[in-house]
Amino acid sequence: MDAQKVDLFIMTNGKFFESHQINVIRDRMLQIDESKWSALSVTQFKDPTTILIVSLLAGPLGIDRFMIGDTAMGIGKLITCGGFGIWTIVDWFLIQKATREKNIEKIQRFL
């Protein structure tokens, strides 16, 4: 893929991934075929900051986990009053990383 397009993608979507993964994503994107660009450019990623706000406000109900696609963890959180409140607090610190990991899983389908 064209280096200019890849850099544009990284500039716009860099915040959705872990910083140490960005170089790998860039290298992989440079290797893949041009035809994947259209699908890749319209892919929606979850914003870690938005999920963090949801986690702060609706963490005990597991909405944050449901939003990133972790349905099982969401149900687990919902039926245990947010993991007795402890899991809710732990997730305030872990949810951004979890969101970025989900984004990586999503982009790996193209790479």
Binding site: G59, P60, L61, T71, A72, I75, G76, L78, I79, T80, C81, G82, F84, G85, T88, E105
Partner: protein
């Protein structure tokens, strides 16, 4: 699915152990009304019960044989009771026989739940249960 078998089994076993310890503590203590410590984060902050408030009372009622009380406390208690009763032993069986039947069942249930129609019904049920919880004043 990114979740691998051992990771799932460890998570479920840890959750089950925590659940058993918690239920055991509550059954032996048996004094909810005198207990000032509330585990529900939402209730502590807003004084509104969450959809799963009353589940511990429900499970302890089931253990003591008061099935109607359990249903009144929170119907989710039945779900938790069944999960706690079955999942650890199923996982242990899987680990000994080196099969992955629990993982397959888990994936099947998850894909079923994620279907929009079923998800909608479940969400409505949870919201109704929540409204009921608030009306009961748990």
């Amino acid at each position: 699915m990114s979740l691998n078998r051992n990771r799932l089994y460890i998570r479920v076993i840890i959750a089950s152990v925590v659940g058993y310890v918690w239920i055991l503590l509550q059954v032996t203590k048996n004094n909810f009304s005198n207990n000032p410590f509330r585990v529900c984060f939402l209730k502590q902050i807003t004084n509104i019960p969450c959809p799963s408030c009353g589940t511990t009372r429900s499970v302890t009622s089931i253990i003591q044989g008061h099935f109607l009380d359990a249903l009144y406390s929170n119907p989710l208690g039945y779900l938790i009771f069944i999960v706690l009763l079955i999942s650890p032993f199923w996982i242990l069986k899987d680990l000994f026989k080196k099969t992955n039947t629990f993982l397959q069942f888990y994936i099947k249930i998850l894909t079923t739940i994620k279907k929009p129609k079923i998800a909608f019904v479940l969400i409505v049920l949870v919201i109704l249960n929540w409204i009921w919880n608030i009306n009961k004043g748990l």
